[in-house]
Symmetry: C2
Subunit: 469 residues, 2 copies
């Protein structure tokens, strides 16, 4: 297969020239100290940190365009950075160059309440946005867990617990402002709710991980804050029974807002962490959004479905404190993992399969963990067939690291064999680039490479990510 040259550091003289020009234009907004460079490299995975040569803090689209134009002149890589909460080495700079931190571009530029949309800069985090929106009656529903930046969520095609009801980033972005590899500013769409006018550049940029351009403004679709929320939890004798209940719920047309699976290992972790005393069997955590009568009816319907399929009693509530109590184990997932193995590093990974294959995939994965001598609680966005394994790894143990890597590889191939994908929501970055050949037909990968080459012929936009080298 004919691929672009994805390797290579810029010529040192060219790099020096670009940094000098950036410094002249941006002054102390260009940082070259080791500490700040290290802070902006990958830190959350087993991948080695690869800091850039400098970190730039632009304040506007024009700043980003000027910086990219300078880097483009000399073939210097640019690596966009939001909050650094991605899991696949997206923010590493394997070929050096300049990290472009969007942290200071954190303005909320407009809220159009009647249209149910807003325009934000990429450095706004989802919590800051929802805080800002609180009195508008609207909210931004995509919730990947971390308080990620909206720009990062766009670029990794983030989703999370609400996706089964509200969709993923691809469904909630109306338009983008993007700085291309040539330093040109483009708008990928307009504020109309829908359009059939041209190629869908918005969706092309969503999930492109900064390899086709840098997002500098985002028009987001917002949703109405529901009048009422009901939330609850239910035990199941097996992962299969929990998955069957999920399928039946979706088929019955119940508009579930969140439906989360936790395996027995994850429940044990939560018990250790918060002394919850939950039975250590699979659990489903659910949330319904609607009118007061509607969310009560939906919870009752789900309770009946669960009972038919072998589930325990469905305990649910609508008051906020009660809901928080019922969902506490789910909220604690990230930190609870450490209770299973204090001092370990968490290595999160995700795959996604058709929901009819989910139980099989989870059960095989549990067996694989056991055979591999690894600890990895499982949490799933089960309505979408997406699940996470939060591996707890002793970073100092080379043998365990090797077993971890081999497990992750088997997990991906297991999902692919079930018509699934190597990542439902974490993205490709460096960590999963090697799987794209197995996931996509060779012709499809050629099309991706052709697009990359057409839009970034010098390969300066976040090189070494997504497309296999």
């Amino acid at each position: 297969m004919d691929r672009p040259a994805l390797n290579g550091r810029p010529d040192p003289a060219a790099l020096a020239r670009a940094l000098e020009r950036l410094s002249a234009r941006f002054g102390d907004r260009l940082a070259t100290g080791q500490a700040v460079r290290d802070q902006h490299a990958n830190t959350l995975t087993l991948l080695a940190a690869e800091p850039a040569d400098a970190v730039l803090f632009p304040g506007s689209t024009e700043d980003v365009a000027a910086a990219v134009a300078i880097c483009a002149d000399d073939g210097v890589p640019v690596v966009p950075y939001g909050t650094g909460t991605s899991f696949e080495g997206h923010v590493n700079a394997p070929f050096g160059g300049v990290t472009i931190s969007l942290a200071r571009m954190n303005g909320i530029l407009a809220v159009h309440a009647a249209d149910g949309d807003c325009v934000v800069e990429p450095g706004v985090t989802r919590k800051a946005l929802n805080e800002h929106l609180r009195d508008s009656g609207l909210f931004f529903p995509v919730d990947p867990g971390a308080d990620a930046s909206i720009g990062g969520m766009v670029s990794t095609r983030a989703s999370g617990t609400n996706a089964v009801r509200y969709g993923t980033m691809k469904d909630n972005v109306l338009a983008l402002r993007v700085v291309t590899a040539a330093g040109t500013v483009i708008d990928t769409g307009r504020r109309a709710r829908k359009s059939s006018a041209g190629y869908d550049l918005t969706r092309l940029m969503v999930g492109a991980e900064g390899t086709l351009g840098i997002v500098t403004a985002i028009t987001l679709k917002l949703s109405g804050i529901p009048e009422a929320i009901s939330a609850g939890v239910c035990t199941f004798p097996s992962v299969e029974a929990a998955c069957d209940a999920t399928i039946a719920t979706v088929q019955a047309g119940l508009p579930v807002a969140r439906i989360e699976l936790m395996d027995s290992v994850q429940v044990r972790a939560c018990n250790l962490y918060s002394h919850l005393g939950l039975p250590e069997v699979p659990h489903l955590f659910l949330e319904f959004h609607g009118t007061t009568a509607g969310v009560a009816e939906q919870a009752e319907r789900f309770g009946a479905i669960a009972a038919e399929l072998g589930g325990g009693a469905f305990t649910w509530a609508t008051r906020s404190e009660e809901r928080s109590r019922l969902w506490q184990a789910r909220h604690d997932v990230f930190w609870a993992g450490f209770a299973l193995r204090p001092g370990a590093k968490t290595v999160p990974t995700d795959v996604c399969v058709p929901i009819s294959r989910l139980a099989e995939c989870v059960v095989q994965t549990q067996a694989d963990l056991a055979e591999s001598g690894l600890v990895g609680p499982i949490v799933g966005h089960v309505g979408d067939g997406n699940f996470h394994v939060g591996l707890l790894v002793d970073e100092g143990d080379a043998d365990e690291l090797a077993r971890t890597r081999a497990f992750m590889e088997r997990l991906v191939h297991r999902a692919l064999a079930m018509e699934g994908t190597c990542t439902g929501e974490h993205g490709v970055g460096q960590g999963k680039a090697k799987y794209l050949v197995a996931e996509h037909s060779p012709g499809a990968l050629d099309v991706m490479v052709a697009i990359k080459r057409a839009l970034d012929p010098r390969n300066i936009m976040n090189p070494g990510k997504m497309l296999p080298g």
Copy 2:
């Protein structure tokens, strides 16, 4: 701007050679008679019909790939054809070549009920699909009115009355099989509900109007047939009041499945056509999907909102016959237009604006029609800010044709000035290609052209469509 050579018929010798090779492979599935060629050219608009040199009826992806490979060798255009119900000359062959009719590729390849998806060939129509699904408890919700083929709906990014609840084609296609300009078969995705693994080639092909490849199989997301439906109709003193009620309904989080605006001219047409005796003022037609209790609650909530905003009584029902009766005017829209002006040709056009600008855009458009001496009832998918003008035109009157064209041009620029789009759901084709420069920033259009050129360097895939020449 640097654009690909979008002009030019193939060399006659090359065309003859390609047709001979196609004939040798496909026998009488390659038709060259004038009648069949004419039947496959544009017939529904003011654009002149431009038939291809031949019409091919492939039976499989392999057939399409072989045909495209033959045409690619000799630089012969290929024009995909579904049911010919598009409105912007998408099926014309301005540079000749071969129309590829997908009509015989009308198999439903798989229905995965537990996963809520199905795989179909492009020639399946939406009604045939829903007929097939009827006993599965699932349905395919996108409804553009015409019984269009699924392949055509993919290619024009179709939507329609259900989009406010269920989304458009971009939201309901999980994956595509596509024959590229080189005759290569690619899959743009897998059956997993979501993925972050690579560029979103699915969404790039949805709405590309066959200019980047020919769709030969489609994996569609399906929805559960609702337990209950409530439907009703409500009068409003003005288009503004109807739009305000729509905005309030969406903001209240009422999960309306359809919300359709009809202006007073359209109501008059329906009265003439079916003797309905409706008051000739703006109407909203609504439908809610959910549980029995849920759809009753939603209808009552809407009634309260409408009453607060000056609407008349909201008459609604849940029984099928009653619902059909209440919605009869809406169902009659297309044919009712002729009652206003018997013998006229219908020239449909659409634009889409942010919903906060919809009333203003509709009212200005009504005034423009009056000043231009034109007859054009208006129907809107008001929840999306999308509306149609069904112009009724005397084709023999050159002056009226000129006024019609001038009106359509002003309509587009009016929508663009309100942050809208030149087409919400009809697509670009030949008719709206000239507006893409005004709609998109020049840089964005350059990106589209770069993609087109990278994926179809010889410009054989439906040339003369979408991108301005």
